[in-house]
């Protein structure tokens, strides 16, 4: 379950990918369309996690929030709930970007991609 503030997401209780969202997409769409979405998602994660890391290095809180916002949006689209929750925490931080949070977001991004790969396998 996800709490409304996305602060207490239980890593062990929530799968990296919500099957009701990702599965629904896979069901609703022709496979080429679904694959295109996954590829776009992969590109987004690659680009946005790099932006997060750069924001951490430069202490750019605004850049960190912006990248986290985009990550949350991308994650939400495919049902990557844990990634979305972590990214939303990154959107809220008003102070210096957190390297720990950036690392957690990166790990969740990896987990989501693995889960998606399983889904399309």
């Amino acid at each position: 379950m996800i709490d409304p503030d996305a602060t207490g997401c239980d890593h062990f209780a929530v799968h990296a990918l919500d099957p009701s969202i990702a599965g629904q997409l896979a069901e609703d769409l022709p496979r080429p369309d679904f694959l295109r979405i996954i590829r776009t998602f992969h590109d987004d994660l690659t680009r946005l996690t790099a932006e997060l890391a750069a924001a951490v290095r430069q202490g750019d809180a605004r850049g960190f929030q912006r990248a986290a916002h985009s990550l949350a949006g991308a994650a939400g689209a495919v049902g990557a709930l844990r990634l979305e929750a972590a990214a939303r925490r990154g959107m809220l931080g008003a102070e210096a970007p957190s390297p720990a949070l950036a690392a957690q977001i990166g790990a969740e991004a990896q987990a989501a991609l693995v889960a998606l790969a399983d889904l399309i396998a």
Binding site: F34, A74, G76
Partner: protein
């Protein structure tokens, strides 16, 4: 005819979200454009006018709400559907307050997006249809016509409906109702608009020349036919031939016209071969065509050939406020042409114009407005500037504060003391010189009595004794006396004096000029 695909503008800055939306929309047969920023969306909304906008609220340059305000300010009427991950009531309320038609929370399933978008597009189509219908029902201009009344809306609709067809149109209506204007409108609204519109007034052409005017002639066909001449039928090839006053066409000519209408072929006068043209017929008459058929003056077979689509033009008296609407336009036009500065009509003048039955219809109204503008100047057309006939027709009490001029008093009639004397007890000072108009050369009017008064009707006659027989004088003297009397009675208002004398105002001016020149 199939509808063009609906245009959807997707405003979404996250590529994955955009890809999901595009993939879900793909099966709906819509045309999609994707904008990643609010600024791009503003530009796209103008370049690619969308039917619906799927709008993410959190955009990199400015918020979705701000974008909605800007879109509306720029006149974008697309149905806006807000798409957001923030499912709060406040966000939904604010979205609706800003003019969104619906609200979708991310992530969304295909079915949800489909239903929401379909509903929004249907609502948008209905709104557009309503707008179009309202605009059609409230048109106050249509080609050359001016008029917003219900009868004219029906005329506009008929013209629009019939324009694309090749069917003959038979226009009926009183003189001055705009029959030729209607014929031109049919032509201009038709696919033949780029081809000639040829109008022929059958009543204005001598019987002997009518056939040649319609069909043309060859050199030597008759005395005076010194060259080949192309007739109206040939000139109108590919276009529209308008036969006005067709009821005046002689019966023998009607036979030839019938053949032409039936076959599209005709024979120029004196020619040995026929010619074929593609012409759409529009004809008009101010008579009752069926009565003309019954009276034997119009061939029944021709009537049925031409009377395919009837178009009856309403007289001005049945067009409600159109008289005033037209008068305002004509006033502005006459102002420009005559260099006057009238801004409009006084309410009482408009009431008088609306109450008048306009037997000569729009043509008469044109003349009245022109007359007023030529003979007067000022910023407002007052009832006093209108011809007396209009004021007599005005409903009692309709012209607040403006006495309706009495009928011209005849000296021979025993008069009853009127409620207000027709003439002031003292010779009145001329009113602000209603005839001294800038730019209009005219002599100064004589003062009330600059010379011996030829005729001064007594202000009030109390005794009903028979008047003495008029003294017989030279006609020119009588004429001058009567004109000056009429001017005195109307306080030097030339237009009203002329109306009392039932002559043209220009005649009064001419006389005044000649008397002044004669000393």
């Amino acid at each position: 005819m199939s509808q063009p695909p609906a245009r959807i503008l997707l405003v979404e800055d996250t590529p994955t979200q955009a890809e999901v939306a595009k993939a879900l929309l793909r099966d709906l047969g819509v045309e999609i454009r994707h904008a990643e920023t609010a600024g791009r969306a503003l530009a796209d909304a103008q370049a690619f006018p969308p039917d619906a906008i799927l709008l993410d609220l959190e955009l990199p340059d400015f918020s979705g709400f701000e974008l909605m305000r800007k879109l509306r300010a720029e006149g974008v009427e697309a149905a806006i559907i807000v798409v957001t991950a923030n499912a709060s009531v406040n966000t939904a309320v604010e979205a609706m307050r800003q003019g969104a038609v619906d609200f979708i929370v991310k992530p969304y399933a295909k079915a949800r997006l489909t239903v929401t978008l379909t509903n929004a597009l249907e609502k948008r189509a209905l709104t557009q249809e309503l707008k179009t219908v309202r605009a059609q029902l409230s048109r106050d201009r249509f080609f050359g016509f001016i008029g917003a009344s219900a009868p004219m809306q029906a005329v506009y609709r008929t013209i629009e409906s019939v324009a694309a067809s090749r069917a003959s149109v038979f226009i009926t209506g009183e003189s001055g109702t705009g029959k030729e204007l209607a014929a031109e409108a049919i032509h201009k609204a038709s696919p033949r608009a780029a081809k000639p519109f040829v109008a022929l007034n059958c009543g204005a052409i001598p019987r002997d020349l009518l056939e040649s005017e319609v069909f043309g002639h060859v050199k030597g066909a008759f005395t005076g036919a010194t060259d080949n001449r192309v007739g109206a039928a040939k000139q109108a090839d590919g276009g529209t031939l308008f036969l006005d006053e067709i009821g005046e066409m002689p019966l023998e000519m009607q036979v030839k016209l019938l053949r032409f209408v039936q076959t599209g072929s005709f024979q120029p006068v004196g020619a040995s071969r026929t010619e074929k043209v593609d012409v759409r017929f529009v004809c008009a008459t101010n008579r009752d065509p069926l009565a003309e058929v019954e009276a034997g003056r119009f061939r029944e077979d021709l009537y049925y050939r031409l009377y395919v689509v009837p178009l009856a033009l309403p007289p001005l008296r049945e067009r409600g406020a159109d008289a005033v609407l037209i008068a305002r336009v004509l006033l502005a036009q006459a102002n420009r042409e005559e260099g006057r500065r009238f801004r409009g009509f006084a309410p009482e003048a408009e009431q008088a114009m609306q109450a008048y039955p306009w037997p000569g219809n729009v043509r008469q109204l044109q003349n009245v407005v022109r007359n007023v503008v030529v003979l007067h100047d000022g910023e407002v057309v007052t009832p006093a500037m209108l011809p007396p006939m209009l004021l007599r027709a005005a409903p009692r009490g309709g012209l607040a504060g403006q006495p309706v001029p009495a009928e011209p008093s005849l000296p021979a009639e025993p008069a009853v003391a009127p409620a207000e004397p027709l003439l002031p007890a003292e010779p009145a000072a001329a009113p602000a010189d209603p005839v001294a108009l800038p730019g209009v050369p005219m002599p100064a009017l004589p003062a009330p009595a600059p010379e011996p008064v030829f005729f001064a009707p007594p202000p009030v006659v109390y005794v009903a004794s028979p008047p003495p027989p008029p003294r017989i004088e030279p006609l020119a003297v009588m004429e001058k006396r009567l004109i000056l009397a009429a001017l005195a009675e109307t306080q030097n208002d030339v237009a009203r004096a002329a109306a009392l004398l039932e002559i043209n105002p220009s005649t009064v001016y001419r006389k005044l000029q000649s008397w002044k020149a004669a000393g």
